[in-house]
Subunit: 287 residues, 2 copies
């Protein structure tokens, strides 16, 4: 039923989704748009999109599905721009990393009988560097893809399109998890935003401390490289996450500060054993 897809934002995620669609057997048309056309050209050369939309507002005209794969505030801007142009035979979905503000915009602008449907999504996959050139049809294989859907009063066709998009996501090899938007934002603060901001803080601190002596960085082994890999992540993406989930992020970072202080105060006590044992438990259960 989904025969025409428009991908708005042909960066790492948008282009990977185009490739995953083709790998999963999607035979319809895929139109692409990107703020800078060079990324759209790369996506086209990789076979992720068939053609490049000359203007953003073109993407909605004949698409069954519009996929927004841009940073969070750009997603909300495009939701506003597109909502008046689309009709109840169309579905919009996204890949934004926080969901409360996007879900609120969806409730305000979509999912009514005379409006397009909106299905908020979040694939828990990515790389520390973006761009179409790094796209990978298997990026979503084995990853969780979260939906925070509040169907509202969407049209019958909107509901059918949403159900079909879920099937495509499953065909990418992702495990679908449904969550409430607020619960989503609370959980990803722990399992995604905490690791990112810790890697950023540690990388920035190390740059200050050993950055002027590049040979010292050689001393670090796999542990150092691994624990700072996410330090390469771009501000442009994380700014919107920090702004749209700041309360949860504040809470998790503060909790880690306290935990580090506790560990530090127990470097010479049996309390250190308890910290290691609790950490070991976490890892033993992690798949």
């Amino acid at each position: 039923m989904i025969e025409r897809i428009a991908i708005v934002g042909t960066g790492l995620l948008g282009t990977s989704i185009g490739l995953a669609l083709r790998a999963a057997g999607f035979r319809g048309a895929i139109l692409g748009w990107n703020r800078t056309v060079d990324q759209a050209r790369i996506a086209q050369s990789l076979g992720a999109i068939d053609s490049i939309a000359p203007h953003l507002l073109e993407v909605g005209r004949e698409s069954d599905l519009v996929l927004l794969a841009v940073p969070i505030y750009a997603t909300i801007d495009f939701m506003e721009q597109l909502s008046g142009l689309l009709n109840s035979d169309q579905l919009v979905t996204d890949v934004g990393s926080t969901k409360s503000e996007i879900a609120a915009a969806a409730a305000r602008l979509y999912n009514r009988p005379d409006r397009a449907a909106f299905l908020p999504g979040h694939p828990m996959a990515g790389k520390e560097r973006g761009g179409a050139a790094l796209a990978d049809a298997n990026l979503f294989r084995g990853a969780v893809w979260i939906f925070t859907d509040d169907a509202g009063e969407r049209s019958q066709r909107g509901a059918e399109l949403a159900a079909e998009w879920r099937k495509w996501v499953a065909a990418f090899g992702s495990k679908i998890v449904d969550l409430d938007p607020a619960r989503h934002d609370e959980l990803v603060a722990w399992v995604s935003h905490l690791p990112q901001f810790v890697a950023t803080a540690m990388s920035a601190l190390l740059e200050e401390q050993v950055g002027d002596a590049p040979e010292l960085k050689d001393l670090g082994g796999r542990a150092l490289r691994e624990m700072t890999r996410l330090g390469a992540s771009p501000y442009s993406m994380w700014r919107d996450i920090a702004l749209t989930n700041s309360e949860h992020i504040d809470l998790v970072l503060h909790a880690l500060e306290q935990r580090l202080q506790h560990l530090r105060e127990n470097l010479k006590t049996p309390g250190l054993r308890e910290e290691f044992e609790q950490a070991n438990s976490f890892r033993n259960d992690l798949k």
Copy 2:
């Protein structure tokens, strides 16, 4: 000249060194000893050692080189036990992760004309789980191997043995770096101990927060798995590191706590951009 080597402690590092010696063409005898004989049997079955010493004090009797590959305080204990048994035609070396206390013991007990020589070493390589079964002849390839040597008044033969051991280490594919013991301990606090204790604190915190809901751990992607991998590291090894480098570790953890607080207070300000840019710089220069 080194024809007989004794490896004390046939865990991950000791067994990997036996395998690396063979891979690099060492044709002499390798004797092994381990506190629990099962690990020595695994090392023998892998070809890392030829035979198992019935008693620790046997290892020194006819060896040109005794390699201590045990935790730090066990290393110092064995240094004391062996110093009276060995002579000036023998060399002892180690793989301990902190070097100030070991270097002090070496100065007290070794490196005199009538005593065995001691060359303090630290290969910056390992895995988050130990044991002979995980040993790898290529574990040291591309890694830094630090020596914090104070030759003292060691014998001519001791000096020659130390020079030969450096050649074997280079043959393992390691890059040799020489440092003062105190500077070593300061630097590894930044590039090794900081990543470890952060991973431990974060893993322990996550166990407390989401450990009772295993399905929630699925949400985490590569970032979560990577940033908590070191959470599996054993207390038994890190206890000695914490005890023998506590001042430096206290300093680096406190610095990270302050950095996290700074980042947290700037989640909604342009200060966040500066943190990401400084982190990006660190990663851009990291090999």
